[in-house]
């Protein structure tokens, strides 16, 4: 505890039992926090106890505590089925691809933004490319539908005939196309936003470095190679590492809404989050979904801790804690 170090150090301390906190004076600060603490309790802490339901035969009518205990049966069912493998694989692989491609493209775009001198153009580019980040996945699903609709979609009706393809492609029932579609849509929504994050990091580089390099006759590309990259890349790698801790959590909106929750696409579009949700709404197995949710919470927690530990060893500044 670092409360008032100067004061306590100045005291000769004849009595060891000094009150640790000055409640009389500072209780208003505690009172202020009551609404927030209540909300955190209800919204975050109560549900944590709810993970016990993974060990029960869930019955919403009876409630959590009245449902019967079944031990690890829900987990046994989940891992005995192929589903656990598919949703884990999909969640991790998509996140890895999104992370690598997203970081690389965002960073390239950030470097390009850094080359724009004209303030008005710079602001316009930033505003336009961050717009996809602003709209909801529901709207995105309509935009994607306008391209992929089997009957009227722009691709089936305009692009395929141009390429000489006669037959329609049934996009929403063909799993094999979705890894590409989802990656493209994810990049579309995120690259602009990410580039602005990295652009902020580029702005932090002291201009004097560039001035000095210029005096030495370095070209712009050399400046980027020898000044910008060495300074910024370690930061970016750390940021990417931290995102790695979230690899067990998928973007629900992308995988549920953009795919229109089409069951036929399960093998390439189901992730842990959509699986849990479908269990909750009744189109899946509730017991197994609850088990999947707990599996996600626990493995996700371990991953965040591990990644943070690794980042912290390399670079304290950028670690979360």
């Amino acid at each position: 505890m670092s409360q008032l170090p100067s004061e306590s150090a100045a005291l000769p301390a004849p009595k060891k039992r000094k009150r640790k906190y000055d409640y009389r004076r500072y209780h208003p600060l505690l009172i202020m926090m009551i609404p927030g603490l209540i909300y955190l309790l209800i919204n975050n802490y109560l549900p944590m106890f709810g993970i016990v339901i993974a060990f029960k035969e869930v019955n919403f009518a009876k409630g959590i505590f009245a449902s019967d205990w079944v031990g690890f049966k829900n987990f046994e069912f989940l891992f005995a089925s192929n589903n656990a493998y598919i949703i884990t694989r999909n969640t991790i692989l998509y996140n890895l691809v999104f992370l690598v491609l997203g970081t690389v493209f965002s960073f390239i775009v950030a470097l390009m933004l850094n080359e724009v001198k004209n303030k008005f153009l710079l602001r316009s580019y930033q505003a336009i490319i961050s717009m996809p980040h602003l709209i909801s996945w529901v709207i995105v699903s309509y935009l994607v539908f306008a391209f992929l609709s089997v009957d009227n979609g722009f691709i089936n009706r305009a692009i395929l005939p141009m390429l000489g393809v006669e037959e329609d492609i049934y996009w929403y029932t063909e799993p094999k196309y979705w890894p590409y579609i989802l990656t493209l849509v994810d990049l579309w929504k995120r690259v602009g936003y990410g580039s602005i994050v990295y652009f902020a990091a580029l702005l932090g580089i002291n201009d004097e470095y560039y001035e000095a390099a210029k005096l030495d006759g370095a070209s712009r590309l050399q400046q980027i190679w020898y000044i910008t990259l060495p300074i910024v890349v370690p930061v970016i790698i750390m940021m990417a590492m931290l995102q790695l801790g979230r690899i067990f959590y998928s973007d629900f909106g992308l995988f549920y809404q953009v795919t229109l929750n089409s069951g036929i696409l399960f093998s390439t579009t189901a992730t842990i989050d959509t699986y849990v949700f479908n269990g909750l709404t009744g189109s899946g197995n509730l017991g197994m979904s609850t088990a999947a949710g707990v599996y996600q919470s626990i493995v996700g927690f371990i991953l965040v801790l591990t990644v943070n530990y690794l980042v912290r060893r390399k670079d304290r500044e950028n670690a979360l804690f």
Partner: protein, 294 residues
Amino acid sequence: MKHESPVLTWVSHISLIALSAACIIPFILLISASLTDQNAIIRQGYSFWPQEFSTAAYDYLFARGTDILRAYGVTVFVTVFGTTLGLIITLLMAYPLARAETPHRTLILFLVFFSMLFHGGMIPSYLVYAKYLGLKNTIWALIFAGVLTNGYYIMMMRVFLQGSMSKDLIESAQIDGASEYRILWSIIIPTSTPILAVIGLFTAIWYWNDWQTGMIYITNPKLYSIQNMLQRIMQDIQFIQSNLQANSNSAMAQMPRDTVKMAIAVIGSLPILLAYPFFQKYFIKGIMFGAVKG
């Protein structure tokens, strides 16, 4: 004066223009499709320019305007109320955590922090809100099960306050006999407008765009937000015919289903896109602020 390679500048401009185009083009397809005659769509599909211009889809939807307006009413209420309440709670949480004198500060910081690391998940949350608090099919579910506040916002605001508040000013106010509430109101809040604006904007966008909460907790179409209505219509176009009542007889005409689908998406996204130029500056500042230290 660090720019000196014209080739690099041109490559950047061309790429950025291409990227900007890629961000806008899908919206053009959507708008064009919504303004095309239904029969032309059946002949040629959605295209970037209406072959046969028609506002039939909008006429059809405007005749059912009351339900769409009510959905917007839900969205606006949830956004305004949720953002205001959320900002108050976040500030009241972050400010004491920024002050060194707060009793049990370390413990409470840990509680906030741990809430960011470990989640109970969707199903336990559902049980808490729906079964124990009875919020299912109420507008409060949209607000409280949404993102009223979270550890990330609290930490972000705390970092800002630690940097911006002046210890001397607080001490002199205490000597003058100001209460802690008075100090918060008269000294802290006026100097915190940038962070309040950033977190307020992000909370508001979150509430405006939220459809997942509604999908979990709301089954009554009268309580649908606009995003929920869009989500339902995407899954089931018949929802319009069975749930949105027409106000006049002329609108009993057959639904131009393929164009209506596009028109409702335009109606659903237009307000935020029209408002965007006015707040884009803060949106981009907010993204940058979050990047500098989360």
